[in-house]
Amino acid sequence: MAYSEKVIDHYNNPRNVGSLDKGAEDVGTGLVGAPACGDVMKLQIRVSADGIIQDAKFKTFGCGSAIASSSLATEWIKGKSLNDAETIKNTMIAQHLALPPVKIHCSVLAEDAIKAAIADYRAKATAKAAE
């Protein structure tokens, strides 16, 4: 099976692999997928006080397309506001990486991971504000 050049590039040189401190107030963590399905993505964001994503990291268990989708996602959301990051759709990721139909779920997972990380950060911020 042939992967696109962009997938291979992200697989060979993944951007932003790593972890942020899950417990930190300014970090949001999204963990999506399931080991039984063969894909798990962890995507983390560090958000500034004015709502800008300053840093993003990922770790992914999954095929080359899953790794590339999450790598690309971190690249795209860095420097964006939370609201802008939320507008990233799986179709944009799939199109950019030229994913074949059987790999579309990888891009869906990447979109879910972004949303989950943002939701986690917002839940923390709301809880902090309520204190």
Partner: protein, 425 residues
């Protein structure tokens, strides 16, 4: 034919010394998928494509006679490696056809008396699909589970065979995990209970000793391209005493004693015969050599990587197979990384379904672990240098992918992955 002895090599074998950079062509470690043809096999085939082109069924001239003689010699070579009589061997296009003919042929012929078939859930797709097809026609099929080591439970098999059972079809060697079923015990049981015993030996012939008499085998499927012979040829052993009857699937000129019509492809028959003769001659030494290579590979991997699990029995296994789960690393991504090696994945993530291997699932390997498995096959042209290169490549990429794996990180942090509520998707 003086060049015959000098050409035992493949293009790959000298390219992959560990000190060098990348091999020119990927190192082939997928010998359960197919094998390269042995040059010695090709050499004996070539004249039958050109000057010795006769139809082996032509009875009126020398061209026919010489082709017939070659085909009959090949038939005897095939019979010899399984302890059969040459009149019990018929040629087919491959193991898929042999399996179809054995199972459908017996089922159809005896359907008025008995209509039940017993097989294993881990059989090759062509056996399972043939059985499903017969179910649609009204036959009853029992798909027996296997034990955790991949082997049939003989007590369970005995219970499954009834007076309505016409055929038990159990493979000798599994194509994914390489485990060897207890053929002699199965044969004995079938004989005792009065059911015919068919065994798919595509992965077994030339790898382990086989004897249709000692093992009470009634029908055996054989493949050419799994034992360094040509693709497009196979054989079916059909017992004569007591005589097993089959309904033919291909009708025509009545060749192969009416069980499989069609002009025999002389060069392919000759190739299969020679492949059997070479395998029979070299099996004892080759089995030792492959066991040594496999153990060297397995030992080095286990020494250098934690959390690697073997799927299927090690004791009851052909020398040239390993099926390993590299926990926390998805198999397809690993294959993408180790692109200097040609291996197969136990994960079926490449297909539209996200289901991992049904064979691994049948052993009770959980789905997450099944997604991390690779099948590594060693064979006649595998060298020690290739094995060492493969170890180095796999260790490097498993380590890299584990550093990238959230599951590995959680495992390192002592998180029980089963305690997490994963969202299924």
């Amino acid at each position: 034919m003086s060049m015959q002895a000098s050409v035992r090599e493949t293009p790959e074998r000298k390219d992959a010394a560990p000190g060098r950079n990348r091999p020119e062509r990927p190192i082939y470690l997928d010998y359960q998928a197919t094998t390269p043809m042995d040059r010695r096999v090709l050499d004996v085939m070539i004249p039958y494509f050109t000057e010795k082109f006769g139809n082996p069924h032509s009875r009126s001239h020398a061209y026919g006679w010489e082709a017939e003689e070659a085909v009959e010699k090949a038939r005897a070579q095939i019979a010899h490696i399984i302890g059969a009589d040459e009149r019990e061997v018929i040629f087919t296009s491959g193991a898929t056809e042999s399996n179809n003919l054995a199972i459908k042929g017996v089922a159809q012929f005896y359907k008025d008396k008995r209509n039940h078939i017993v097989t294993l859930v881990t059989e090759h797709k062509c056996v399972l699909d043939t059985c499903r097809h017969l179910q649609e026609e009204g036959f009853a099929v029992t798909y027996l589970p296997v034990k955790q080591d991949g082997l049939v439970d003989l007590a369970e098999l005995e219970r499954a065979i009834t007076e309505k059972t016409v055929l038990v079809s159990i493979m000798a060697v599994n194509n994914e995990i390489g485990v060897v079923q207890p053929l002699a015990e199965i044969g004995k049981l079938c004989r005792k209970k009065g059911a015919y015993f068919h065994t798919d030996c595509a992965q077994a012939v030339g790898k382990i000793p086989l004897d249709v008499e000692a093992m009470n085998i009634d029908l055996m499927s054989i493949s050419g391209h799994k034992l360094y012979g040509p693709k497009g040829i196979g054989a079916l052993y059909v017992r004569r005493r007591p005589r097993i009857r089959l309904q033919a699937m291909i009708n025509g000129g009545g060749q192969e004693r009416g069980m499989r019509s069609g002009t025999l492809p002389t060069p392919l028959c000759v190739g299969l015969g020679e492949a059997c003769a070479i395998a029979e001659r070299e099996m004892p030494e080759e089995a030792k050599r492959l066991t040594r290579l496999r153990d060297r590979f397995h030992g080095a991997i286990k020494e250098k990587l934690p959390e690697v699990y073997l799927n299927g029995s090690l004791e009851n296994r052909i020398p040239g197979n390993l099926n390993l789960s590299f926990a926390y690393v998805e198999g397809e991504s690993l294959i993408l990384g180790i692109n200097d090696l040609s291996v197969s994945s136990g994960s079926a993530c490449t297909s539209a379904s996200l289901e991992p291997s049904y064979v691994l699932r049948a052993l009770g390997v959980d789905e997450a672990m099944a997604h991390t498995s690779l099948r590594i096959g060693f064979g006649r042209f595998t060298t020690e240098d290739e094995v060492d290169y493969a170890v180095k490549d796999i260790v490097e990429h498993v380590t890299k992918l584990r550093d990238m794996s959230p599951l590995w990180e959680m495992f390192q942090d002592g998180v029980d992955l089963k305690s997490i509520k994963w969202a299924a998707h």
